[in-house]
């Protein structure tokens, strides 16, 4: 098997890279073991949310200019601010081609509400999570109704509201709660307490329930002008059904990202994979890259679990297998390693300094910053410390950034995937 570009890992980073390469005419394949961090994410793309003193960043690009100057090893510094901007525009346009619309706030970050009722600065959100009408209603201090489905245990409106009300921004905002109950679909055996966001999303996806849901929303929300619900307003038909519900109720309805499985993240995943396939890319799902062999200092081929002895060759390889969470990095008694090719890691400190004492530390844990070391062009080093020139590492596998502490996970994944693609396209002479 022979490709121009073979990408290992089908998260947002690998997919961005693949779509860019394939649309430039390179024959591209993406291999991915299981579903990616998108399914566990908020579905918003964070660019840079906090500065080094933990203050909120409002103008991310402006801040990045200064930040990349001070942090020369940071992935954003490797890409350069202009490439970061281009990458995000590319992502937005790609999603738009799949009819998934992103709210674009130009140069500014906006906030999305978390399921816990805290506010997080982010750069791109789906329009059902943030848009201008929501912003305006908020500025008018309009009354909000936070609704939940009875039995859905991954969201507690009362908790969310009590946290929201602690926030300066929500001063003088009236917030009420209410509950929706399941439309009857003739299955008395089914216990609503078993439902997860995906089950509820499927109810919203079914047109015949919308009238009843709309009635319930109207009743429960009363005179509130806008209604917040956990993000489960459909998967395939969410756009149309969201509009219908707003029309039927006369209210603004917006979605709050939920605990996994993340419907918002899943919409992104769907759109990106569909785009990649439409462009003619080959996606090999459910298979794991086990290793590869070098020839004359470059990576010659990799092999996988399912394809056994078949060698998958490419002119360029991209490793975007994610961090510890996705198996791109592993830690065992010997320390931390990159399991596919044993690439050189950033210097790691003794194990007892890996974690912060608080599990949900807002700065993130020190181990978040561990990862694969690369050159400024994102080329990794082999175990002996030699640069591998036909290979690029992108996304959460990279060292020297802190996705949680900086609020930069999605942005780094997208920018580095895009930046690697640019270099591969150039190297292939396209």
């Amino acid at each position: 098997m022979n490709y121009d570009c073979l990408i290992i890992g089908g998260g947002i980073s690998g997919l961005t890279c693949g779509i860019r390469c394939q649309s430039a005419g390179l024959s591209t394949a993406i291999l991915s073991a299981g579903m990616s961090a998108l399914h566990f994410s908020s579905g918003s793309i964070d660019l840079i949310g906090y500065d080094r003193a933990r203050r909120i960043v409002h103008s991310p690009f402006e801040y990045l200019k200064e930040f990349t100057g001070a942090m020369p090893d940071h992935p954003y510094a490797h890409c350069g601010v202009d490439t970061v901007r281009e990458a995000l525009v590319f992502l937005r346009d790609t999603l738009k081609a799949e009819e998934l619309e992103i709210y674009d706030n130009g140069e500014r970050n906006h906030f999305h509400v978390t399921g816990m009722g805290t506010l997080k600065p982010t750069y791109f959100s789906q329009r059902s999570v943030f848009n201008d009408s929501i912003r305006q209603a908020f500025e008018r201090r309009a009354k909000i109704a936070v609704l939940n489905f009875e039995g859905y245990r991954d969201f507690y409106p009362e908790l969310a509201i009590s946290n929201l009300l602690k926030n300066e921004l929500f001063k003088n905002v009236e917030i009420v709660t209410g509950r929706l109950v399941f439309p009857d679909y003739g299955d008395p055996e089914k216990n609503p307490f078993e439902y997860r966001s995906i089950d509820i999303a499927r109810i919203f996806d079914t047109i015949q329930y919308l009238d009843e849901i709309a009635e319930q929303i109207k009743r429960e929300a009363g005179d509130a002008e806008f209604v917040a619900m956990p993000a489960f307003i459909g998967i395939n038909n969410y756009k149309k059904h969201h509009q219908i519900l707003q029309m039927l109720t006369g209210k603004l309805i917006y979605e709050i990202p939920t605990l996994p499985p993340s419907i918002l993240g899943m919409r992104l995943d769907d759109a990106l994979k569909s785009r990649f396939a439409d462009l003619g890319g080959v996606l090999i799902a459910g298979d794991k890259v086990m290793g590869g062999d070098f020839l004359d200092g470059v990576l010659d081929h990799v092999h996988t679990q399912n394809y056994g002895t078949t060698r998958l060759r490419a002119r360029a390889f991209v490793l975007s297998t994610g961090s510890f969470f996705s198996g791109g990095l592993v830690s065992d008694s010997g320390g931390m390693r990159e399991p596919v090719l044993n690439l050189r890691m950033s210097a790691t400190s003794p194990r007892n300094t890996w974690y912060s004492p608080q599990f949900l530390d807002r700065k993130g844990h020190p181990f978040f910053e561990f990862g694969v070391e690369t050159t400024g062009k994102l080329n990794p080093f082999d175990a002996e410390g030699k640069v591998i020139e036909n290979m690029f590492c992108t996304g959460a596998i990279l060292a020297h950034y802190n996705p949680i502490g900086e609020g930069s996970g999605g942005g780094v994944a997208v920018s580095t995937g895009y930046y690697a693609a640019n270099q591969i396209i150039k190297a292939c002479g396209k």
Binding site: R196, P261, D278, G280, A285
Partner: protein, 400 residues
């Protein structure tokens, strides 16, 4: 007793990703989905089989949940084995009829004219629908006249000895009883590549038997096939191929994982056909091809996807000059073997497929290409397009 070998359900991190990608849970609220039917309730069933839930029957065994799972849980295997371990066996003539393909096929090909005529008649369809619970909307694959084996013996076998290299061809029931054309195409493609074909003794691979809970019969067939195939590969270089992706999947994976049979003696020699052709092409054995100027949309069957074979088909097809190939975003077609032939699942089956049918319509191809015979039935019944097998495309390209 808890089988310590099969506790992959313990690796489940409860993320529900599998349920998102289950094509059945997507279309019916009556199926709680792989997470709940697999890892969540397996621990309960182990304790007390009474806790079995009837909704398990909705699972089509497409394995898409396993592809999506980030923790490598063998979800579909758990569900299948629970189905036949815990459900009480009830004899159903329909399920017997649908799953005993050898028995029915052998009879049907003798009377194929009458059979095809009858299964298309509306009173018969009415009877099938009302009494046997086979939906009248379902179009039956036509039976051929005689078997492929007979044809092979009479017209092809002699010529095969002229070739130095041989491949063992497990043709499966579909080629034997319904579609000789594909078997003939396989022989002509192999011969064009200077490879002779031999056909081993074989029985139905067991896919429909497994799906309908005839596990002992499936094991019997498996034992027969493993033995028969092992004998054909005494020379270790010999390769066995199938033109049905589901037969290959069963022979390689369902035998070992579900039926718990030792198939290691044939495992490495056996592959779905495009893998073999790919290897031949890699080794330089590429006969001249003439352009096949058609626009085709390729649909990848669930089981080929699970086993890892799609890239070979795509690679082989991409070498055919003139073939304008569009790869469809991977979706289940919904038929899942005999599942779509059952009245109680017919609507679910069609709903599952609807996303794929829409993509096909959008692609506006001349033909659809796929590796699996039941996907072919489903697509031909549900869209206006005719479906070809990759081997038949090659046969056209190699035609002198």
């Amino acid at each position: 007793m808890i089988d310590l070998e099969n506790i992959s359900f313990d690796h489940c991190i409860k993320c529900t990703v599998c349920t998102i990608y289950c094509p059945v849970a997507r279309v019916t609220h009556h199926f709680p989905g792989p997470k709940q039917c697999g890892p969540d309730t397996e621990r309960l069933r182990i304790k007390n089989p009474e806790l079995l839930d009837d909704s398990l029957r909705y699972c089509t065994n497409c394995k898409r949940c396993e592809i999506a799972c980030p923790s490598n849980v063998k979800i579909a295997d758990i569900i299948q084995s629970s189905k036949w371990k815990y459900f009480k066996k009830k004899f159903r003539i329909r399920d017997y009829f649908l799953s005993h393909t050898d028995l029915i096929g052998n009879t049907a090909v003798k009377y194929s004219g009458i059979m095809n005529f009858f299964t298309a008649l509306s009173p018969v369809k009415f009877f099938l629908d009302q009494v046997l619970l086979i939906p009248s909307k379902r179009i039956f694959p036509k039976y051929a006249r005689g078997t492929f084996r007979k044809w092979f013996k009479k017209f092809a076998r002699k010529k095969q000895s002229a070739f130095g290299t041989h491949v063992v061809y497990f043709h499966g029931c579909f080629v034997n009883y319904n579609e000789h054309g594909l078997g003939k195409d396989l022989v002509s493609v192999m011969n064009a590549m200077n490879i002779g074909v031999t056909i081993p003794r074989e029985r139905c691979c067991g896919v429909p038997l497994i799906a309908n809970g005839y596990i002992e019969k499936a094991r019997k067939n498996a034992r027969f096939n493993i033995n028969a195939l092992r004998k054909t590969i005494e020379d270790p270089g010999t390769r066995i191929v199938t033109t049905s992706s589901s037969c290959a999947f069963a022979l390689k994976y369902e035998y070992a994982n579900l039926l718990e049979m030792d198939n290691s003696s044939i495992f490495n020699n056996l592959n779905y056909i495009t893998r073999y052709i790919y290897d031949q092409f890699q080794a330089g054995n590429v006969p001249p091809m003439k352009p096949v100027t058609i626009r085709a949309a390729y649909h990848s069957p669930c089981h080929l996807e699970r086993m890892g074979g799609v890239i070979y088909t795509i690679d082989v097809l991409r070498r055919v000059p003139g073939l304008d190939l569009q790869i469809l975003h991977s979706e289940c077609c919904g038929i899942a073997g005999t599942y779509g032939f059952k009245k109680e699942y017919y609507d679910v089956s069609q709903k599952v497929g609807s996303a794929l049918f829409k993509r096909i319509e959008k692609a506006r191809p001349d033909f659809v290409i796929t590796d699996c015979e039941t996907c072919k039935w489903q697509i031909e019944m549900s869209t206006p397009y005719k479906v070809l097998h990759p081997v038949s495309i090659l046969a056209r390209a190699f035609e002198k």
